[in-house]
């Protein structure tokens, strides 16, 4: 069995590459257009995924939860843009929103009764702080619109 950390690192690597593509892309199109093109990429994957699996056998509840997970992720992306449009500095807003795993930890410990060990708590704290610090990009020059370089996780 592959260790969970190997799978998690796959996500880190590919989402990290995505961040680079977002940086390159937003040099050419607006950040909002970028979100739409990213969604096109998601949709482009659909035929491949459909070939490999089917939704048969899934209960209605699971289907609804899965659909809702996509919906709330999209709403999170929308909130980032609304945040920046309401005057937030990207250097403050992006590291702040990078704290989202903290809320997942709160929900998982409260509702799924997850109980991390003291060592895991230490690692979780380091990871959340590290993720926020890595997202910090000080403004170098005034730009017409500050644009997030990562979203749509």
């Amino acid at each position: 069995m592959i260790h969970w950390l190997a799978y998690a690192c796959l996500a880190v690597v590919l989402w990290g590459v995505c961040g680079l593509f977002m940086k390159l892309g937003t040099n050419r199109v607006s950040a909002r257009s970028m979100v739409i093109w990213v969604t096109v990429g998601f949709v482009a994957l659909l035929p491949v995924l459909w070939k490999m699996t089917t939704l048969k056998g899934l209960g209605v509840t699971v289907v609804l939860i899965g659909l809702t997970s996509g919906l709330v992720n999209g709403l999170g992306n929308w909130a980032v843009f609304a945040c920046l449009e309401k005057g937030a500095k990207a250097s403050v807003a992006i590291p702040l929103t990078a704290l989202y795993p903290l809320f997942t930890v709160i929900l998982a410990t409260a509702f799924l009764k997850e109980r991390p060990t003291p060592m895991q708590w230490f690692g979780i704290a380091l990871a959340i702080a590290g993720g926020a610090m890595l997202s910090y990009e000080p403004a170098t020059a005034p730009t017409p619109t500050e644009e997030p370089t990562h979203c749509v996780q």
Binding site: M34, P101, A127
Partner: protein
């Protein structure tokens, strides 16, 4: 005036809303992942986010930038994110969401490194500190 100063700025509410939505996404992924496979989850995720993308397109009055380079990087981003999400969902099947989500939240680590190599962007001290914490957290959580 003093009252205005004490008010929470509107942007902060949106930032907190974003933390709420994305945090909820991690939680729901864990819940659904108990019954659905990573492939099935990614299909449902994509279908679920389509209404929001459509809403944003309407909000933009269908003024989508069609620069070929930008569109290509955007589409590649979506494909990379989608495949990366499969790794996230697979990790969630074997480990708690409270552990996996903070680790995968470290993805800016690679963006920062790639931006340094490819775009020759300079690393600031905060990011360097973040890199140290990120690597330390991976070591601690792998024990």
């Amino acid at each position: 005036m003093s009252n205005d100063r004490r008010q929470v700025p509107v942007w902060l509410w949106y930032a907190l809303l974003c933390i709420f939505w994305w945090g909820l996404w991690g939680f729901l992924s864990k819940v659904a992942g108990n019954s659905a496979s990573p492939l099935q989850l990614q299909i449902l995720f994509t279908l679920g986010m389509l209404p929001v993308a459509l809403g944003m397109l309407v909000q933009m009055r269908w003024n989508l930038d069609r620069n070929v380079g930008g569109a290509s990087y955007g589409t590649l981003s979506g494909i990379a994110t989608g495949i990366g999400s499969l790794g996230y969902y697979a990790a969630l099947r074997e480990q708690n969401a409270s552990v996996v989500t903070p680790v995968t939240g470290l993805f800016p680590l690679l963006t920062v490194i790639l931006a340094f190599i490819v775009l020759r962007e300079r690393l600031n001290r905060v990011q360097m500190g973040g890199m140290v914490l990120a690597l330390a957290s991976i070591v601690v959580l792998s024990m």
